[in-house]
Amino acid sequence: MIGTPDLEAIETLWKQGLEEAYTAYRPATTGLDGEDRHRVALAAALIEVALELQRLGRPAAAAPDLLRGDLCLARASRLLAETRDQRLQVSFARAIEERSAAAAAERPLGPARDRLLLAIADGR
């Protein structure tokens, strides 16, 4: 169950892909402590949804979607900070760096979910 603070200002995204992404990342977080499982799966889902909202690698998103995407990225960063797990924080950051650099260079981007699952695996 997702707590209200984690979805504040982005509640509508839950039914627009965030819930599905969260559910998809949960199995990859097996073995983490209970709270951290939730945090890491939600962080991954937020990043995936943010990159989709911002249309990274495609024509630019409209301003409101860009800002909602920024909030998703920032919230993911806060959730990862709460895990106090440096490896996971670095691993996720590198995934975003890679994808945004590729988007800026107009190189094709593979599926975000695959890359973020790899980030979870690398961070553990």
Binding site: E8, A9, L51, Q54, R55, L56, G57, R58, P59, A60, A61, A63, P64, L66, L67, R68, D70, L71, L73, A74, R75, S77, R78, L80, A81, E82, R84, Q86, Q89, V90, A93, R94, I96, E97, R99, S100, A101, A103, A104, A105
Partner: protein, 459 residues
């Protein structure tokens, strides 16, 4: 050059009075960052010395002075029948004058980065030789004072930013480099480097990395903001969105959000990571609020403060806190600099708002109003009983030049600018109060100068 006096009251015939702390405060008060401090005893029976402040050692030194120039020995100076024009209150103190030959009448000490340069065991003493008496030590300070930011710190920030941008892929690195090289106050990284000196674990290189990361976060928000605001220029150059297109601007912003997050995580301080992450969330949340508020412009004071606390003050306060946390500063110091940063951040934005109504701001007057940017003077003026109605009516329209000038004129007449200036000054005073009664180890004067400079911009 600056001068001061240290007044002393000795309580014993011979007494070592430790001046080290008071000298540090004189240095902070004068804002001396790098240079020299000269001390001179203004009495012939008061000497100066540097030594260890250890009670038994001081007893040893006092005994040594007694041995080398005993009070019971014969001194011609004490035979008033041989001297001319002896004042009525002249003491028999030949021994004290003799002992003073063993000490120094003056000292010159070095100051680095706002701190008196003393070794671990060194203290600076005024040595009373004929007390108890009221005494005075004259001080002169020379060197580089905190009127502008110290060049060394500024260089450190620039070098670290350059280093961080150097190896990045050119599609993201080049646009960010152009933005960073175009200028900026470097307010936030400067605060990081200052507060990173407040704890026992100060490490200039780690502090520089954190400072650069904080500046990159700020720059990344500007890249996205400029796209949202459709701003054509930033710092006199085309914005990233204008020069590279919005799609690349989004990628550049995302890249540097992520890179900054990684640099901070790699520092391995979970508290610092959390502080910055919470601030980033506050910034992004308030940007959404800001955009939504444009639909009911100019909003009210509560809206304004909520947005400003997130958009501007959050990262300024986080810069102060994160620097202090990185150095292992005490919880009290961390909390003090957080409150300092919050107050300075809000005052900074309020003053920015006032500057928008000045023809000396360097940008077209009233530009913020035209772009529907939240503005406290405009909020106050639009609530004015006599003038508010006309302002609100004008704001509801498209604001061509003539109407914009009229809004600016009405805001000036309403007294709102003075009110915002007063409130910003009050906030700076609150920030300065946070610096009192806590050990800020040589950076207090610079933090105070930064706070005061925030409101000076509107003068």
């Amino acid at each position: 050059m600056a001068g001061d006096r240290i007044a002393l009251q000795s309580t014993r015939p011979t007494e070592f009075m430790d001046l080290t702390g008071r000298l540090q405060r004189v240095i902070e008060k004068a804002g001396l960052l790098n240079g020299r401090v000269h001390l001179q005893a203004l009495h012939t029976t008061l000497g100066l010395a540097m030594n260890e402040n250890e009670p038994l050692l001081l007893a040893d030194l006092e005994a040594m002075l007694r041995r080398l120039a005993p009070a019971e020995a014969t001194y011609l100076h004490d035979d008033f029948s041989l001297r001319r024009a002896v004042p009525e209150d002249e003491p028999a103190n030949g021994h004290a004058h003799a002992r003073n030959l063993l000490l120094q009448p003056s000292l010159t000490l070095l100051v680095e980065d706002g701190e008196l340069l003393v070794g671990r065991w060194q203290s600076v003493f005024a040595v009373e030789l004929d007390g108890p008496r009221a005494r005075e030590v004259a001080i002169q300070l020379e060197g580089e004072f905190a009127k502008g930011r110290p060049d060394r710190t500024r260089r450190l920030i620039e070098l670290e930013l350059e280093r961080q941008l150097h190896a990045d892929p050119e599609q993201v690195g080049d646009p960010m480099r152009r933005l960073v090289e175009a200028g900026g106050k470097r307010f936030r990284p400067f605060l990081v480097l200052l507060t990173a000196r407040l704890g026992p674990d100060y490490d200039p290189l780690r502090a520089a990395t954190l400072a650069a990361a904080v500046e990159l976060i700020h720059a990344a928000t500007l890249v996205h903001d400029d796209y949202v605001d459709e701003s054509p220029q930033r710092r006199g150059r085309p914005t990233v969105a204008a020069a590279e297109g919005p799609a690349r601007a989004i990628a550049v912003g995302d890249f540097y959000f992520a890179k900054a997050t990684r640099l901070i995580a790699e520092l391995g301080s979970p508290d610092v990571t959390s502080t910055i992450a919470v601030a980033m969330e506050a910034i992004c949340r308030s940007q959404i609020d800001d955009l939504e508020l444009r639909g009911r412009y100019p909003g009210d004071e509560a809206d304004y403060l909520r947005v400003v606390r997130g958009k501007t003050a959050a990262l300024i306060a986080a810069a102060c806190v994160a620097g202090a946390q990185l150095s292992g500063a005490s919880a009290e110091v961390v909390e003090r600099v957080r409150r300092y940063g919050d107050a300075v951040g809000v005052a900074f934005q309020m003053t920015d708002d006032v500057v928008d109504f000045s023809d000396r701001s360097g940008k077209p007057m009233g530009q913020d109003i035209r772009e529907r940017v939240l503005s406290l003077p405009l909020i106050y003026a639009s609530e004015d009983e006599a003038l508010g109605g006309e302002i609100q009516q004008l704001l509801a329209g498209p604001l061509p030049d003539r109407e914009l000038r009229r809004v600016v004129e009405l805001v000036g007449r309403s007294g709102a600018l003075d009110r915002v200036n007063r409130e910003a000054t009050d906030l700076v005073q609150a920030a300065l109060r946070e610096l009192e009664g806590v050990d800020l180890d040589g950076v207090k004067a610079t933090l105070a100068e930064i706070a005061e400079s925030v409101v000076d911009r509107s003068a």
